[in-house]
């Protein structure tokens, strides 16, 4: 027997009054057995705990070792009462007693057994009330809920007495009778003679875990009759008596490693059910209780994979009533990033063990069919060709370079490079963000665009996998097109400065593709992500992301990249960068403030003089 005897409830409570005579019974404590033949012995710890931190030697309370009846062995006079009330801040003073339980007679005062129950005694600053002043509720039940905990698979026994010993002693001329209202077939019985309630058979939590009954009390005083009903609850405590099982018998799953090769990637998940509950608090012990181990001799496998175990509560409905059970999930996870050249297939077995279940089927084997496929680093067959307008400015974004499936890659670091060609025209460069899977082509030298001898320029683009040094190349052709426009005078170098469509579209600025900024006309409704603004290219700015090209120079797209003040109605972007949403028109002076405001001044009605006055 692992647990032995136990208390069907953790706490008991009762009131104690001044000058109640010695011998007054207070309350009755019960114990339930773990195995047949056990006999309960009750014992009090010889310390009263007062207001949590103080304690005092117990001179007043005793318990009958065999029956569990707690009684006053010495009357509490006012002096005792004042002493025990010290340090109690609330108007109500409480003292606490610990009751211990053992299957053999107590030899000496053992105060450290694990099986104990707490008795809370409220010290009432008055003499015991007369019976006629008590309400039916007070005569029948204490303040504490009638709620009990019974372990499953244990022998039946009596676990509560409805009659209150203190009231019975005090009000002997009153007739107080009880009844237990239970649905047909419930495994509980009420004994009219003793008012004891017992469980009549072994309970099985996996069949039903909560019983809700009603305790009914009738008080008769002469011709008057009063009735009180309170809920009477029994919770069935769980023990590990069910083996793990597989839903639909599924014990095998495919785990394919292809583009996603990053450490921490979940490759596949298998589920194991258990009808027992598994507490998530404390988490550590439950993890230990239910283990999942990779069975392998291969050091590479044990280094490269790990199994992650999570579990949560689910419900089973064995016969209409819901009971809690557990779903365990075992995830096969990459323990380190796998090189693009690795190529293997094997079966990986995971042994799941329900360590506290004592039966033959305590474990199940899970199988993961692992295939590690190599991935090739290559560009799509065709070579790249991009056209660039001769009027494009520095930081104009031309296009993206990407190897096959590049956006699917994870945990593979591909670096893109432009290898120089043998002309003197180098208008474009490539840049890559830290986590970017592609390279962005942009204008780096706008003067080269303008030179007539530069027409069609060829580059070689190289992509290298950092880990395996595997690389691939392709041809990139840049065709310059369009005729040079005359540059407007007095234009700012940033499109974002303009706050009207007209001035926006007649100027150029850093990042423009065709020599002119573009106006984005917003919806104009309140603070919106679709605010009106002037931008080098509507496709890339503002899109809420400060990309690697834009972050090169704040003048390109302050709408995405500013970290300065934004004046007017607005919402900030991720990491406090940029304007996520704005009111009306948003414009910026790079490296200074941005402004979002409604343009209320009609240009036709207001000339320059008028503007100055305003």
């Amino acid at each position: 027997a692992a647990f032995g005897l136990y208390f069907p409830r953790k706490e008991y409570s009762e009131n104690v009054y001044i000058d109640q005579p010695a011998g007054t019974p207070l309350l009755r404590i019960h114990a339930l057995r773990d195995s047949h033949g056990e006999v309960a012995h009750f014992h009090l710890c010889q310390n009263l705990v007062i207001s949590r931190a103080r304690s005092h030697e117990n001179h007043w309370f005793q318990i009958r070792e065999k029956t569990g009846l707690l009684y006053l062995s010495k009357s509490l006079d006012r002096e005792d009462f004042n002493m025990l009330s010290v340090g109690n801040w609330m108007s109500l003073s409480k003292v606490m007693l610990y009751v211990f339980l053992s299957s053999h007679p107590f030899q000496e005062k053992e105060c450290d057994s694990a099986t104990r129950s707490t008795v809370l005694l409220s010290l009432i600053n008055a003499t015991a009330p007369v019976c006629s002043s008590l309400t039916a509720r007070q005569l029948c039940f204490t303040d504490m809920d009638l709620s009990f905990r019974i372990k499953e698979n244990k022998p039946p026994g009596t676990f509560h007495q409805l009659q209150l010993p203190s009231v019975h002693h005090l009000c002997q001329n009153l007739s107080i009778s009880y009844k237990l209202l239970a649905a047909e077939g419930m495994p509980f019985r009420y004994n009219v003679n003793t008012t004891g309630v017992s469980v009549t058979q072994r309970l099985d939590r996996e069949e039903r875990e909560r019983y809700e009954l009603i305790a009914k009390c009738t008080v008769r005083e002469g011709f008057r009759e009063m009735q009180v009903e309170v809920p009477f609850l029994v919770n069935v405590l769980d023990e590990d008596d069910s083996p793990p099982f597989l839903p639909n018998g599924t014990d095998t799953v495919d785990a394919v490693v292809e583009f996603n090769r990053k450490e921490g990637t979940v490759l596949a998940t298998l589920t194991v059910y258990d009808a027992d509950t598994t507490p998530i608090y404390p988490l550590k012990s439950s993890r230990k209780k239910y283990t999942g181990t990779i069975i392998t001799d291969d050091p590479w496998i044990s280094e490269t994979f790990r199994v992650e175990h999570i579990f949560d509560e689910i419900h089973f409905s064995p016969n209409g009533s819901q009971v809690r059970g557990t779903r365990h999930e075992y995830k096969l996870v990459l323990n380190k990033s796998i090189s693009v050249t690795d190529h293997r297939s094997f079966q990986l077995d995971v042994l799941v063990n329900d360590t506290e279940f004592h039966g033959p089927e305590r474990s199940v084997m899970l199988h993961f069919n692992v295939s590690i496929l190599p991935v090739s680093i290559q560009f799509p067959n065709t070579s790249y060709q991009f056209s660039v307008n001769r009027n494009a400015e520095r930081f104009a974004q031309i296009g993206k370079i990407c190897i096959e499936n590049c956006m699917k890659f994870c945990g593979v670091n591909i670096t893109y490079k432009l290898l120089s060609s043998n002309t003197s025209c180098y208008p474009v460069s490539i840049l890559q963000g830290r986590e970017d899977k592609y390279g962005s082509l942009y204008v780096n030298d706008s003067s080269a665009l303008r030179r007539p001898e530069c027409k069609e320029i060829q580059y070689t683009v190289q992509a290298i996998d950092e880990q395996s040094r595997k690389h691939t190349k392709t041809l990139l052709t840049i065709v310059l097109e369009g005729t040079l426009l005359k540059k407007e005078e007095d234009c700012p170098d940033s499109c974002a400065v303009s706050k009207h469509p007209v001035e926006c579209e007649e100027c150029g600025g850093l990042g423009v593709l065709t020599g002119r900024c573009q106006w984005r006309q917003g919806s104009g409704k309140g603070i919106t992500t679709n605010y009106s603004t002037c931008t080098p290219s509507i496709k890339t700015c503002p899109d809420g992301i400060c990309d690697v090209i834009e972050s090169n120079d704040l003048a390109v797209c302050p709408q995405d990249c500013t970290s300065g003040n934004i004046i007017g109605g607005h919402g900030k972007g991720i990491g406090n960068l940029g304007i996520k949403s704005g009111h009306g028109i948003c414009y910026c002076f790079p490296r200074e403030n941005c402004y979002c405001e409604k343009d209320d001044i009609k240009e036709q009605l207001c000339d320059d003089v008028c503007k100055t006055v305003i």
């Binding site: 207001s51 949590r52 009330s85 609330m90 905990r149 405590l237 509950t277 507490p279 998530i280 990491g575």
Partner: protein
């Protein structure tokens, strides 16, 4: 406010009134026998449970001497100077003595003597009107307006709102730690005439109730990706002296009781609302679970899923928030501008 009895004096019940633990620690340090016993006791308590400790003669002796010292009954004040230090001293003695696994712990804070009516009186001076007078108005909006008209309230409120709504990165929605800190400053430093009106305003329509729910910026300070188990959350809270104290204070002042008219201990609504507000900005931060106008349901961000054999205990813990007649009555009483009339 009524003056509290002087340190070490006698209150009308003949009990010793509390000294704060920082002061008690100084008094003890000045007395060689007390300070040496205190050191002994702290060593005794370190890493041992009560019963092992009591078995040791030296520890027992230290405990008996200290029972007579002011350290034993010392308390702390909400928002006092050196509050954390005070609580550290309190728990250095009480942790070892109280098993640490008790369901309800006694509050280390001094009992609250002021009443809701004090707030109503002040609030009506501020607003120039009875809060219950105009039934059509949105009380939560009025509360926000009243806060904005007060420099201190406005500054600390916009402080926590901007901190709690600041996006850090695509994955991190906000800095919960900073948000909690800003919320604690708001509730500690702004008079309750303002903070309670924001937190406990009464509502007749959903927009108002939603505003009330949004008061503490729940998307940052309250909600999380996953709901932990309530017992686990309680455990996390109890590892932190401040959170543990505020939770104990909530349990002391809002624990539903059958022995009073209002279901609140000592019929003191003010004490319950104060200890509720004291939980905001900690792991156990409570909030309205929805914008319902008919029923008020409050809960910390946790559930009883996965409680195993401790489900009953977990539900009991959670019910002190979700189905607590004392807390509910106190919030409704504040919203209606009513307080229980008690003879002093």
């Amino acid at each position: 406010l009524a003056g509290s009895p002087s340190a070490g004096g006698q209150d009308p019940h003949g009990w010793r009134a509390p000294v704060d633990c920082v002061r008690a620690n100084e008094l003890c340090a000045a007395e060689p026998s007390c300070s040496s016993r205190y050191r002994t006791l702290r060593q005794c308590l370190a890493g041992r449970d009560r019963n092992t400790m009591l078995a040791n003669k030296e520890c027992q002796a230290a405990l008996e001497v200290l029972q007579e010292s002011p350290l034993y009954d010392c308390r702390c004040k909400r928002g006092m100077k050196k509050e954390l230090q005070c609580l550290q001293i309190y728990w250095s003695i009480h942790l070892g003595l109280t098993e640490g696994e008790e369901f309800y712990e006694a509050s280390p804070y001094e009992p609250v003597t002021s009443r809701l009516s004090d707030i109503f009186r002040l609030a009506s001076i501020f607003s120039g009107m009875d809060p219950a007078a105009n039934s059509k108005s949105n009380h939560c909006l009025d509360a926000a307006k009243a806060c904005n008209l007060n420099d201190n309230c406005k500054r600390l409120r916009s402080g926590y709102i901007s901190t709690c709504s600041k996006e850090i990165s695509a994955t991190e929605h906000c800095s919960r730690r900073k948000c909690h800190k800003a919320l604690r400053q708001f509730f500690d430093r702004v008079p309750s005439e303002y903070t309670y009106r924001l937190l406990f305003c009464s509502c007749r329509d959903q927009a108002c109730a939603e505003r009330r729910r949004q008061t503490i910026v729940p998307s940052c300070s309250y909600e999380d990706k996953e709901k932990p188990n309530c017992l686990e959350l309680r455990n996390t809270c109890r590892t932190d002296h401040l959170c543990r104290s505020r939770l104990a204070d909530f349990h002391t002042n809002c624990q539903a009781s059958f022995q009073s008219l209002t279901s609140c201990p000592g019929d003191n609504y003010q004490a319950c609302l104060g200890s509720y507000a004291g939980l905001i900005g900690f792991d156990m931060t409570p909030n309205y679970v929805d914008a319902s106008t008919t029923s008020i349901t409050i809960s910390p961000w946790c559930s009883c899923k996965g409680s195993g054999n401790m489900e009953e205990e977990c539900e009991k813990f959670l019910r002190d928030f979700t189905e607590n007649p004392c807390l509910r009555n106190a919030i409704q009483a504040f919203g209606n501008g009513t307080d229980v009339n008690l003879s002093p």
